[in-house]
Amino acid sequence: MTPENGSASEKWNLRLYTAGQSPKSLAALDNLKRVCEQHLPGRYSIEVIDLLKNPRLAKDDQIVAIPTLVRKLPEPLRRIVGDLSDTERTLVGLQLRQIK
């Protein structure tokens, strides 16, 4: 199944839901970028969605906690809530752990 390593060409499509520029949201984005640079250099994209600007998306995408990171691709869809300060758990959550 989805190998944690993935193929080197596999594209990662990540979406981070925030509510304005809260410290937790900013921290999450920083942490996310760091992890991606380290483990997925050149093959990831991060889309930041500010729910303050578009609250409807919270309903449509089933967001409850802020910040929430959603791994859209590769499938299956994964959700990680929190500011991603715990790198180990972030990697497990993203199923990137074995790369480490």
């Binding site: 999450a28 609250p55 919270a58 309903k59 906690a65 910040p67 869809l77 809530v81 300060s85 959550g93």
Partner: protein, 485 residues
């Protein structure tokens, strides 16, 4: 820090629920602009009560609502309330109700680092704003505890949530599952302190009874009893059980019993309007016939009569009564007579009471016949039965409804000693029984008591003819009073 609001001397503003009975026991509804907690075990009707509060708000009080459901999808919910006769989809379409299904599944969520539930707040705000909601239901917020690990975050966010709801000024209903030894599993009552309603669904001897109790209602008086309630095709109805006082209006007006000879025995005029009449007798003595005469007479005068038959179907009753010259059908068709049949064992005693209450409130009759009441009594303990009859009699009297109950007595029990001590509730008591006259046995009727009138003390022969009931003088002496069978 926010300052406490000054205490208001005025009575608490309330948001009516529109649910029959509930507004009476809450003395006007739920606290407006504040949260109310509805708790109870599984299947007690929490969700339905919350949903009905919202729907009635939108349809009857022009207060749009937001429904935030954590357990059921919008479709499931729409289906459930449809069984109560509410069309949720249409209300959503008309922008009177907004629904958001919040799904939290721990297995799909990993947690790392700090977070809050701002997403939920945004969703609530969005739902409220999209319809201009004045009411909101969160059903049931405890699901969050299953979805997230960090309980400390959840608790502080819950506290923030209730503050948020108050600030938005919405009247909120929160549901919670009952826990062991506490009202809710997650101690929600700690956060919602304004009004707490407990629902209960218990089964005794295979019949279920639903009951409701207001555990607390800050800043206002309220009924403190356990009140039976019913969930049926029209939604909730709660039996307020109020007015257990002897201050009914009293009428001097008389209404005919439908049997001229019986009217003669009752001071020539029949029963008092708004009085309670008991017809008791052994099997096959003609209790139903007497009741049918009364119902027909009432309908003939153009007064509505509700006939609750617990032994016969309406069709069977009409057929049987036709053979003794009482044709009920035209009155049923005209709408002055309503026949309702159900099995006494179908519900518990209180459920029947709620049902009678509801039918009387809807149909607004001048007379009610319950044929027979004995079946209820057999189904319950004497204390319960007496309490129920007391409530029923009180309720009907308060509405000036003339009530006729039939009661089947077993041949062996002492007749006058009857009857679960209801004698004190009954104004006019007619006895039907077989007696021996000389060498033959006849049916006989006599008036055991009739308050407020000089009534006949005679024992009359009770004859059912194809043209109705006749009361004849008993030929010869009927021995010493009447011999028991």
């Amino acid at each position: 820090m926010k300052m406490e609001r000054p205490v208001q001397a005025r009575s608490l503003p309330k948001a009516p629920t529109g649910i029959p009975g509930l507004d009476e026991i809450t003395e006007g509804g739920l606290p407006r602009g504040r949260p109310t907690l509805i708790c109870g075990g599984p299947g007690c009707g929490k969700t339905l009560l919350a949903a009905e509060f919202l729907i009635r708000g939108a349809t009857e009080f022009d207060e749009p609502g937001a429904l935030i459901t954590f357990e059921e999808t919008s479709d499931e919910l729409a289906q459930n309330v449809r069984s109560l006769g509410f069309d949720l989809d249409a209300l959503v379409e008309e922008k009177k109700i907004a629904i958001d299904y919040v799904r939290v599944e721990r297995s799909e969520i990993a947690e790392t680092g700090e977070y809050d539930l701002e997403g939920l707040f945004l969703r609530l705000g969005f739902a409220i704003d999209s319809v201009g909601a004045k009411r909101i239901v969160l059903d049931t917020i405890e699901s969050l505890f299953a979805g997230f690990e960090n309980q400390a975050v959840l608790r502080s966010e819950l506290r923030r949530l209730f503050r948020f709801l108050k600030d938005r000024g919405v009247t909120a209903v929160i549901t919670g599952e009952r826990g062991d030894g506490s009202l809710t599993r997650q101690g929600l009552e700690e956060y919602v302190s304004d009004c707490v309603i407990l629902l209960d669904h218990r089964v005794t001897e295979q019949t279920s009874t639903r009951r409701m109790r207001i555990v607390k209602y800050r800043g206002t008086t309220h009924g403190t009893n356990e009140y039976p309630f019913l969930i049926d095709a029209d939604g909730f109805s709660v039996l307020p059980l109020s007015g257990l006082q002897l201050d009914h209006p009293v009428s001097d007006e008389r209404v005919s019993s439908g049997v001229p000879a019986l009217d003669t025995m009752l001071d020539g005029k029949g029963y008092y309007r708004g009085s309670s009449v008991l017809v008791s007798g052994t099997a096959g003595t003609g209790k139903t016939s007497l009741a049918a005469h009364f119902a027909q007479e009432s309908a003939r005068r153009g007064e509505r009569c509700l006939y609750l038959a617990f032994e016969e179907s309406p069709k069977q009753l009409m057929r049987n009564m036709r053979t003794i010259g009482v044709d009920l059908e035209p009155h049923v068709k005209k709408g002055t007579l309503r026949l309702h049949s159900s099995r006494p064992t179908l519900h518990g005693l209180e459920m029947h009471l709620v049902q009678v209450h509801k039918m009387v409130s809807e149909f607004n009759p001048a007379a009610v016949v319950i044929d027979p009441i004995s079946n209820f009594i057999d189904n319950s303990t004497a204390i319960e039965a007496q309490a129920m009859l007391l409530r029923l009699v009180d309720f009907l009297k308060a509405k000036q409804i003339t009530a006729l109950f039939t009661h089947l007595t077993s041949g062996s029990a002492a007749l006058e000693a009857t009857d679960i001590g209801i004698s004190s509730l009954i104004d006019t008591w007619l006895l039907l029984r077989d007696i021996e006259v000389g060498t033959s046995r006849i049916k006989a009727l006599y008036v055991l008591k009739s308050r407020g009138m000089p009534h006949s003390r005679e024992v009359r022969e009770f004859v059912v003819t194809p043209k109705g009931i006749e009361l004849k003088k008993v030929a010869g002496k009927a021995g010493k009073g009447m011999k028991k069978r």
